[in-house]
């Protein structure tokens, strides 16, 4: 298997506070990797560094052999790294369709951008369907529910055909039914993409995760299958008092 993402010795400091402390992480081509860890572990910060939003003080991020640190955000996107945000952000004044179309058009040259959109490309149409938003295509994205926004964001990511998808808590705040559908969507996406998902929800994890990386205080604490990670005493220690793991453990007993 070839390594797609190779993070080495990443260190991020926010005015004295060490958010990432010499983090190492490797993700292989075609993997579906779950990233967990208590609040403040540095999960979002890691995504921020990979996508160029935050500059590390030390360390490197190699993506398919290319160094990403020091590149500007849109350049990294153009190299094939896409992300969603912990709180889904879409363009509320634009319609759902326009949001997707804009995401899909990022490789067009300036003169062709000046032209009007003609119809709906197959890619955008299929993303509309995937995100279950076909009926809302012409409504402004501002009217979407929380869950629908997350899906739109994932759809916007898919039409960009990235080689690596970084999803930051895609099911946070979703209803049980929405979670399930998102999980299925995630599996479908993972069949053809390399995906890193940050997720807190243990039940979700157990259903859909293969390999899990646990982060704590800016470092990788443990890596392994869901079962391995759940049984690890250190991981339990870190999560102690956190309902997620306790609840999950209790469920297992019953």
């Amino acid at each position: 298997m070839t390594v797609l993402l190779d993070v080495r010795g990443l260190r991020v400091v926010f005015s004295g506070f060490v958010a990432l402390d010499g983090l190492d992480l490797t993700v292989e081509e075609g993997e579906l990797r779950f990233l967990i860890g208590p609040n403040g572990a540095g999960k979002t910060t890691l995504i921020d560094v990979v996508t160029g939003l935050t500059r590390p003080v030390a360390g490197s991020v190699r993506f398919g052999g290319t160094e990403l640190v020091g590149r500007r955000e849109h350049r990294i996107v153009r190299l094939g790294v896409g992300r969603t945000f912990q709180t889904a952000t879409v363009f509320e004044e634009l319609t759902v369709l326009e949001n997707l179309d804009l995401a899909a058009s990022f490789r067009l040259s300036l003169p062709s951008l000046l032209r009007k959109r003609r119809g709906v490309s197959d890619e955008v149409a299929s993303a509309l369907e995937t995100a279950e938003l076909t009926a809302l295509a012409d409504r402004p994205a501002g009217v979407l529910s929380h869950g629908q926004r997350q899906w739109l964001e994932i759809g916007m990511l898919l039409v960009q055909r990235p080689r690596l998808l970084l999803l930051d808590e895609p099911v946070a705040g979703m209803s049980k039914d929405e979670r399930e559908r998102t999980g299925e969507l995630l599996q479908r996406i993972a069949a053809t993409h390399t995906v890193v998902v940050v997720e807190h929800d243990m039940e979700f994890l157990r259903r859909y995760a293969r390999k899990v990386t646990v982060m704590h205080q800016g470092r990788v604490l443990r890596e392994g299958s869901v079962a391995e990670v759940q049984d690890d005493p250190e991981v339990r220690e870190v999560y102690l008092g956190r309902s997620a793991v306790r609840g999950a453990a209790a469920e297992e007993v019953s």
Binding site: E73, L94, E98, L110, L113, L114
Partner: protein, 346 residues
């Protein structure tokens, strides 16, 4: 449909104006059309792109001076020197002026100089992620600096007097009503063209991208676009429009001077757009014409008060009708449509 009818009506009004208005009134209308051309650019940059351009006077001035320099040279006496240079004892034409004797060069400069200045400034400023109030203040400071430069280099620029005393515009005699009508017609056509270009830009994908940059510049980066490029291109377009307007202003009003380009005139350009509605091109155009008409009407016997009235109007609009008159119209139309729908259902 109704907006098409409104558009046709406006075109008709502009077309009959030369035959119904006195030369004096027509000249005023032509001047308002110049401001309307600037307004289209402001609506593009501010309304669609969220860039609060407080220094459009600079680009208006660059276009105006480029045109004014050509016109002065075309009317220069045997020494080949503009009148004001002769009076202030300049003996040789400054190097900066020489190429402007060529009409093609001058016309190109009208477009290219404001465009290039805005392009370079935009790249510099937007790359550094200067935005919001910081950008607004920067653009305003630019207007102030431009005026100081113009006033300071009297030998080249005509100082506070600026460039004035024009009697010909290419083949047209500006003292003749027919010449004036022709200049008016040119302004109306340029306004129409500028409007069409802006409309195309707004309706294309680029227009959607521009709105996206306005509402979430940082998010746009993660779609793979560089917001600095989008903003620079738009800012440049708005500057070119202001430059064209400045160039037309010269034969229409007969003067271009620093007093027309500083902070206050730059702000005045914005007030019309705010009042008419910055999110709708037609609103911006209408607002610019309306506010400048009001200015003329009030200034005739109420000069001092106008400044306060205008300031008050600006604040009032921003607080109570941020979408301007156009926003009030579309709002009313939507409410009406909603009521009609309800009645049909009932």
């Amino acid at each position: 449909m109704s907006s098409r009818i409104a558009l046709a009506l406006c075109v008709l009004l502009l077309a009959v104006a030369p035959f119904t208005l006195s030369p004096f009134r027509l000249g005023l209308l032509a001047k308002y059309l110049c401001f309307a051309i600037v307004a289209v650019g402001i609506a593009l940059a501010w309304g669609q792109g969220g860039m609060l351009v407080l220094g459009q006077g600079v680009f208006f001035g660059l276009g105006g001076y480029a045109m004014g320099m050509y016109l002065k040279l075309s009317e220069a006496g045997s020494a080949g020197l503009p009148d004001f240079m002769v009076w202030s004892g300049v003996e040789e034409l400054p190097a900066l002026w020489k190429p402007f004797a060529n009409p093609v060069f001058a016309l190109a400069a009208v477009v290219l100089v404001p465009g290039l200045v805005a392009f370079l400034l935009g790249l510099l400023v937007f790359r550094q992620r200067v935005r919001g109030a910081y950008f607004a203040i920067l653009s305003q400071a630019l207007a102030a600096a431009f005026v100081i430069l113009l006033v300071g280099r009297q030998g080249i620029t005509g100082g506070t007097n600026g460039l004035t005393n024009f009697s010909r515009f290419f083949q047209l005699d500006l003292t003749d009503p027919n010449g004036q009508r022709a200049v008016y017609a040119i302004a109306a056509v340029v306004l129409g063209l500028v409007y069409l270009v802006a409309r195309l830009v707004i309706r294309g994908r680029f227009g959607r991208l521009l709105v996206a940059v306005r509402d979430g510049e940082d998010r746009v980066r993660f779609l793979g676009y560089d917001p600095a490029v989008v903003k620079t291109v738009t800012f440049t377009m708005s500057a070119v429009m202001a430059g064209l307007a400045g160039a037309l202003f010269v034969p229409i009003v007969g003067i271009i001077s620093p007093a027309l380009l500083g902070i206050v005139p730059s702000l005045e350009l914005l007030v019309g757009v705010a009042v008419g509605g910055r999110f709708v091109l037609a609103g911006a155009i209408g607002g610019a014409i309306l506010v400048n008409y009001a200015k003329t009407a009030f200034s005739e016997d109420f000069a001092e008060g106008w400044l306060y009235l205008q300031g008050g109007l600006f604040v009032l609009v921003l607080v109570f009708a941020p979408k301007g008159l156009a926003g009030l119209v579309t709002g009313a139309r939507e409410r009406l449509a909603a009521r009609v729908r309800k009645e049909r259902v009932a």
